[in-house]
């Protein structure tokens, strides 16, 4: 039937169309319309849109690539000489450095105001040369007048603007007043109020106009002042011309306007006075007017509005502990002495561990040799010192004193000859050569050449000095690598081994804290009950019950019982940690004093032996030592007493903590030994490294600067290196960037921790988001019955993807860090969550049991047997059981959240939070939440794309729903799910804003994954090398930090681009990995074509 209708309708249409068919054909023949009809212009439109998009993307990537890649290119070093303000002193003002930026700016008299006299004159000269007017001084008034003409024009413009604004302001004001007045006059309160509200928005407009008015008034004032200045200048220069005409013969008619000009004049006689001298010497306002006029003239001649000048930014570096100088300097071309620009051959760039870059010419390379002092010499010296310093302590009379001093003389002689011998031997090992000189250093630190050696002095050090740049540089290259290697060793000792030892110390301390907590937990209920009893007794007293009454006695008896009970647990609440820590401290002090006493004893014995047992000197030595040690014993007493006192306190703790305390001291002792050994190694390396010095001349300080080799990361003579070496420097900088820790407030060094942080966070995020997202999508797509609720949920999830990421950050901070994290740290109390009393907790537990039973029964009885239709009762039962189940789950959650027994997993660390602060785990989970909608939506789409025939085939084989999902649907949807994961990863890895709230920090050299430390855990779950509680560095946050928080923004800016490039590369690498995985899966599950 319907087909018949169609047919009829078709015929009607056809017949209806028959008539206008011809004119339409004619119409179509118009070529433009035909093009539109064929859609050809759309090709250009669509293609153009694509081209624009590509341009933007390529432009973005290109810019990042260019700036990012160019950061590490070694630049040549340029040195220029600046025009000197004071030609009297010989010192040149030199600027040396790499040129990092170049820009062209408008040259104006104002911008020159702060410049040196000579520089300004140079600009005037150049301008006059450009204008090419022979008789410029005479014409100057005309030029200034021209300038004034322009100024007047601007002035007129400004006046007009002012008038315009003024008019508007008065109109608006009047209108407002009228409106308010009329509304008030009408007597209707609401209208009046409305009028006022409207008036306030108009008032804002009025404010804007007023602000503009003020701006233009300021401008007008400035223009008027300029005009006035110009007039004065014309008057001045006119006066000048007539004066000079009048006094043409004398040629001395320079009008002395101020003392400064007089001084300048005094310097000129040796060179012929310039024709421009009158301008140079004009008073400041006149000079400004003249410069303005000249610049205007020059610009006008070139058809421009202003004269441009170039300036370049020099990276000059050379900051130091003493001098905090700006490391970047602008140098305009007119500030330079013409032709002074050069590339000094031997200037090197040194990148230092501290204080950034250094530019200087190597002057000397110094290799220090310490003289080894053998034990005999040392013993002699210390015996002599003992007597020299402490003879008075022996309390001898003058005669005996003299005797002792006499017997000391041979020792002095012996020491002297011994020293001379060893010094001779030491010095003989070195000789002066053509390019090497030798300096020697005595005890006092005085440095003299070897030739000036004073036989009587005790020289402790010899320095080999190479003094030409070439050799100094060659020596630097020879020694630098080994110094750096030693430095790396020292770094590892310092960072890792010392870190491990201090971790052991902390663990022992935590053990003690745990014992403390155990005692406290036992005491707490007793104290609580005691408190209640006390309150009750006080209450009884208040109502006048005598303390003899039965009720009162009962309470007080119980109180006493409790006191005894508490005593049995611990004599008092003990601060184990504090005690142990203090005892350790005092023990350390005692040990040091004991060491000194032992040393003294030994020294005394040695001295006695040397002088002969019975000699006066021996007796004196022993006496001195005795006296000294007595003093030391007095010194030793207070800490010893303190230790005894503390130990007594420790006794009050229950006996079972004793082993823990003992273990603490044992661990501390072991740690001390290890610390000492490591520190000795570090000291040895530091000493060895401090032997190498590079001394450089710089243009930033008059005195040569000494660089220690271990402070130099990398150095190269920038103007000498060839292409290959430049590539080497470039590569080594990149390698340092991706493999090293940052230094200099992140603006130098590497970003390894940030790379690790980004990668680990992204991976944890992916691992966290995948199961949740996929399971949720599975439920939504495979199990949930389509309906309003499902639609609402689906829309909500999609909308969640559009929520600003910082909102997730705030949530993460509030929920994960301060909520869940604090709960993990120290239970509900620590998280400031409500805590149930124990009684109530058990009551609710019972309620939970009952509710679960009810829910279970309900769901059993509401179960529909397969194939049967659900009756209304059954459906009701099902619904009710669902709600009861939900209630049960809620009660269960409440029980866990408010558990009074749970005191957290990291209670021993409190009040320092472990998980109750930002960390890589919380950051990952926050981002997982952020990317959840992406994963859910993508997974749902992938599931929807699985052909229904697959599912039916599987069901047809007798598979259950879950078997079908697991065997057929999920494998088929996996590539799509992976695509969702890729999108999620890309979004998560690039996110910065939420991370700032939940754990990304400026500097965190401790990586969240530590292969040396397998003690990571999340609550009771061990996570091995993953320390999920640690805060971390993130490349995105690093970029923000470099770009906006850095103190040295010029130095940090290039790093911003490099870090951006790296971030893009890492995200790309993560994505490529995921795409590779997806393609592998897709190949496996590719749907067939037939």
């Amino acid at each position: 039937m319907s087909s018949e209708v169609d047919q009829v309708a078709g015929e009607q249409t056809r017949s209806g169309l028959a008539k206008p068919a011809r004119p339409r054909m004619k119409h179509r023949s118009s070529s433009g319309m035909s093009m539109l009809a064929h859609g050809e212009p759309m090709v250009w439109l669509t293609g153009g849109a694509l081209a624009a998009c590509l341009l933007m993307i390529v432009g973005l990537l290109g810019a990042v690539l260019y700036f990012g890649m160019s950061t590490f290119v070694p630049l040549p070093i340029v040195q220029v000489e600046l025009i000197d303000a004071d030609p009297n002193d010989d010192q040149k003002r030199l600027v040396t450095g790499e040129i990092t930026k170049e820009e062209v700016f408008d040259l104006s008299a104002e911008s020159l105001l702060s410049e040196e006299y000579a520089v300004v004159n140079r600009v005037i000269e150049d301008t006059v040369k450009a204008i090419g007017d022979e008789n410029i001084v005479a014409n100057l008034p005309t030029l200034i007048e021209n300038d004034s003409e322009f100024v007047r024009r601007d002035l007129v413009e400004a006046e007009e603007k002012l008038e315009y604004y003024n008019e508007w302001i008065t109109t608006l004001e009047r209108e407002l007043e009228e409106r308010i007045a009329s509304a008030t006059a009408g007597g209707r309160a609401i209208e009046a109020r409305m009028a006022k509200i409207r008036a306030s928005s108009d008032g804002e407009e009025l404010e804007d106009y007023r602000a503009s008015f003020q701006t233009f008034r300021g401008k007008r004032k400035a223009l008027r002042a300029q005009l006035k200045g110009n007039e004065d200048a014309i008057a001045y220069f006119n006066g000048l011309t007539s004066n000079s005409e009048n006094a043409a013969t004398t040629r001395t008619g320079q009008p002395g306007e101020g003392s400064s000009e007089d001084e300048e004049e005094a310097e000129t006689p040796d060179q012929p006075p310039s024709k421009l001298q009158p301008i140079f010497d004009a008073p400041r306002p006149a000079k400004v007017a003249a410069i303005n006029a000249l610049l205007r003239e020059q610009a006008g001649m070139n058809g421009e509005k202003t004269v441009k000048a170039r300036r370049r930014m020099f990276r000059t570096g050379n900051k130091s502990k003493e001098v905090n100088r700006p490391t970047f300097e602008w140098v305009a071309d007119y500030q330079m002495v013409p032709g002074s620009e050069e590339r000094p051959e031997w200037t090197i760039v040194a990148e230092r561990m501290e204080y950034g870059r250094f530019y200087g010419v190597p002057r000397q390379f110094v290799l220090r040799h310490k003289r080894t002092i053998d034990t005999e010499e040392e013993d002699l010296a210390s015996i002599i010192e003992l007597f020299d310093m402490n003879l008075w302590r022996a309390g001898l009379d003058d005669e005996k004193n003299g005797e002792v001093l006499n017997s000391l003389e041979p020792l002095r002689e012996e020491l002297k000859s011994l020293r001379k011998k060893t010094i001779d031997e030491f010095f003989n090992g070195f000789s002066v050569t053509d390019n090497k000189s030798i300096e020697i250093v005595d005890e006092g630190g005085t440095v003299v050449p070897l030739a000036n050696r004073d036989e009587a002095k005790n020289y402790v050090e010899l320095r080999e000095v190479w003094s030409t740049p070439e050799i100094a540089w060659a020596k630097f290259e020879q020694y630098h690598d080994e110094v750096r290697e030693r430095l790396a060793e020292r770094y590892s000792l310092k960072e890792h081994e010392l870190g491990m030892v201090s971790k052991r110390r902390n663990d022992a301390l935590k053990e003690l804290r745990r014992e403390e907590l155990k005692i406290d937990a036992k005491l707490a209920p007793i104290y609580r009950e005691k408190q209640i009893l006390e309150d009750e007794m006080i209450a009884l007293e208040k109502v006048g019950v005598s303390s003899d009454s039965d009720a009162y006695q009962k309470l007080s008896k119980r109180f006493d019982e409790l006191t005894v009970e508490a005593q049995a647990i611990a004599r008092q609440s003990v601060n184990l940690r504090g005690l142990a820590h203090d005892i350790k401290q005092y023990d350390d002090q005692i040990e040091i004093i004991d060491g000194l006493i032992r040393e003294n004893d030994q020294l005394g014995k040695m001295a006695a032996k040397r002088f002969g047992e019975d000699s006066v000197a021996a007796g004196a030595a022993l006496e001195i030592v005795k006296k000294l040690n007595e003093e030391k014993q007095i010194e030793r007493k207070p800490p010893a007493d303190k230790v005894a006192e503390l130990r007594a306190d420790l006794e009050k703790a229950p006996d079972y903590v004793a082993p823990t305390v003992e273990r603490f001291f044992e661990v501390q002792r072991e740690a001390d030994l290890e610390d000492r050994e490591i520190n000795e190694n570090i000291a040895r390396i530091t000493k060895e490294n401090s032997r190498y010095l590079l001394i450089c001349d710089t243009t930033t300080s008059p005195a040569p600067v000494t660089l220690s080799l271990d402070n130099i990361v990398r150095a190269y003579p920038a103007n000498q290196i060839d292409k290959a070496e430049a590539v080497g420097v470039y590569g080594s900088r990149w390698w340092e960037f991706i493999s090293d820790d940052p230094r200099e407030a992140n603006s130098e060094g590497g970003v390894l921790p940030a790379i690790w942080g980004t990668v680990i966070m992204t991976l944890i995020m992916s691992i966290a988001v995948a199961p949740f997202g996929v399971l949720a999508a599975l439920y939504l797509r495979e199990y949930a019955k389509a309906g309003v609720i499902v639609s609402v949920i689906r829309i909500s999830i999609s909308n969640l993807a559009g929520v600003p990421s910082i909102v997730f950050g705030v949530f993460g901070l509030g929920f994960f860090c301060t909520g869940v994290g604090s709960y993990i740290d120290g239970g509900p109390e620590n998280a400031s969550w409500p805590v149930l009393s124990e009684g109530r907790w058990f009551v609710i537990l019972a309620v939970l049991a009952v509710v679960s039973c009810i829910a279970f029964t309900l769901s059993l009885s509401g179960r529909v047997r397969p194939g049967a239709h659900a009756t209304a009762t059954k459906r009701l039962l099902q619904n009710v059981s669902t709600f009861v189940w939900i209630a049960a789950v809620c009660i269960f959650a409440a029980l866990i959240v408010m558990a009074p027994f749970f005191r957290g997993f990291y209670q021993a660390d409190l009040p320092n939070p472990t998980f109750g602060k930002g960390g890589v785990l919380w950051a990952s989970l926050t981002l997982a939440l952020l990317t959840l909608p992406v994963v859910i939506v993508a997974t749902e789409e992938a599931l929807a794309a699985v052909p229904n025939s697959m599912r039916e085939g599987s069901y047809g084989c007798g598979a259950s729903k879950w078997q079908t999902i697991r065997n057929i649907v999920l494998p088929h949807a996996l590539p799509g799910i992976m695509t969702g994961m890729i999108l999620a990863m890309a979004r998560g890895a690039g996110e910065v804003a939420p991370l700032m709230l939940v754990g990304a920090v400026k500097l965190a050299p401790e990586l969240p994954i530590a292969l040396a430390d397998f003690s990571g855990s999340v609550g009771p779950i061990p996570t091995g090398p993953l320390h999920a509680d640690r805060s971390f560095m993130h490349l995105g946050f690093h970029i923000y930090d470099l770009g906006f928080q850095s103190q040295d923004s010029e130095a940090a800016r290039p790093m911003v681009f490099t870090t951006t490039l790296l971030l893009i590369l890492i995200i790309a690498a993560l994505n490529i990995g995921a795409i590779w995985l997806r393609n592998k899966l897709r190949k496996r599950f590719q749907s067939g074509q037939f």
Binding site: G867, E952, G956, C957, G958, Q963, Q1086, G1088
Partner: protein, 296 residues
């Protein structure tokens, strides 16, 4: 056995004698009249694997099947023919309760597979489906190897023994006449096969669990003539071993491969009998019109 056991004569007479306002049965059916089916005597003489009695089905409020009485004979090929939308596929899918997957479906009446009710309360659908094999219009091999495809029904049953799986795989593939073609590439993806091979693979999968009845839902509609020929040959080979219920659009196919043919129209069974009878001397004029291509 169906409760309303009318003879052909009675039916034929009753229709022709009753003064219906409609020109023929088809118009009566189209107008919603309750028109009894004509079932040939020969059907009742067979032993029945599947018995469908008084079966009604609604999609929401729309009724799609009306009072279907259909007994599928054991070891024979029974084909369901009829114009589009007549409910052939719906009926077929009801046999292994595939329509359960559609939420709005409601049924009345019963089906019995070898005496076990399919729609009785308490029937385990999963177990029930394992007793039937189904092949769909479009070949739907799973995205796994050929071997895994064939043994899928056993895998989900929890069979782990490799020897058993291999034996059944070979047996099924031989049964589906595709063994020679794929025996060297059992581990290759099933999706690499051609359409006809894929469909035979699906048949192999369907017979792997030794089903009591094989349901074929237009198995050749997506295939070219050569592949169709092979499938038809295969059905011929399977005859006797399996009870086969096949839905087809193609009247020639029905006449070539089936022993019994049922004609359906707008949700009602019109005539059901031995294929030869239906095609050469149908009891109803309407059937003759349909098989000779005068309508539909």
């Amino acid at each position: 056995m169906s409760t309303i056991n009318t003879t052909e004569e009675q039916q034929g007479v009753s229709v022709s004698e009753t003064k219906t306002p409609y020109s023929n049965r088809l118009a009566a059916i189209a107008s919603g009249e309750k028109v009894p089916s004509v079932i040939h005597e020969a059907v009742a003489r067979e032993e029945h694997t599947l018995e469908i009695s008084d079966f009604n089905l609604w999609y929401g409020v729309k009724q799609a099947l009306f009072d279907i009485e259909l007994d599928v004979p054991y070891g024979q090929v029974t084909s369901l023919i009829g114009p589009s939308g007549c409910g052939k596929s719906t009926l077929l899918r009801c046999v292994n309760r595939m329509n359960d997957l559609i939420g709005t479906v409601r049924i009345e009446g019963n089906m019995e597979l070898n005496g076990d009710s399919i729609y009785k309360v308490g029937v385990d659908v999963i177990e029930l489906r394992k007793r039937m094999g189904m092949v769909f219009q479009k070949p739907n091999p799973f995205p796994m190897s050929i071997f895994e495809n064939v043994v899928y029904p056993l895998r989900i049953d929890g069979e782990r023994n490799k020897a058993v799986l291999e034996e059944i795989c070979e047996k099924s593939l031989r049964g589906a006449a595709i063994w020679e073609e794929v025996k060297d590439r059992l581990q290759e993806s099933a999706l690499s096969l051609s359409g006809g091979q894929q469909q035979r693979l699906c048949i192999a999968r369907a017979i792997a669990s030794e089903p009591e009845v094989l349901l074929l839902d237009e198995p050749c509609s997506a295939l070219d003539p050569i592949a169709t020929g092979k499938i038809e040959d295969l059905i011929g080979e399977l005859r006797g071993e399996y009870t086969i219920l096949i839905v087809t659009h193609n009247m020639q196919q029905a006449s070539r491969i089936s022993d019994y043919t049922a004609l359906m129209y707008l949700g009602r069974l019109v005539e059901y009998g031995p294929t030869l009878d239906i095609f050469t001397k149908p009891k109803l004029k309407e059937t003759e019109d349909y098989v000779t291509g005068r309508f539909g």
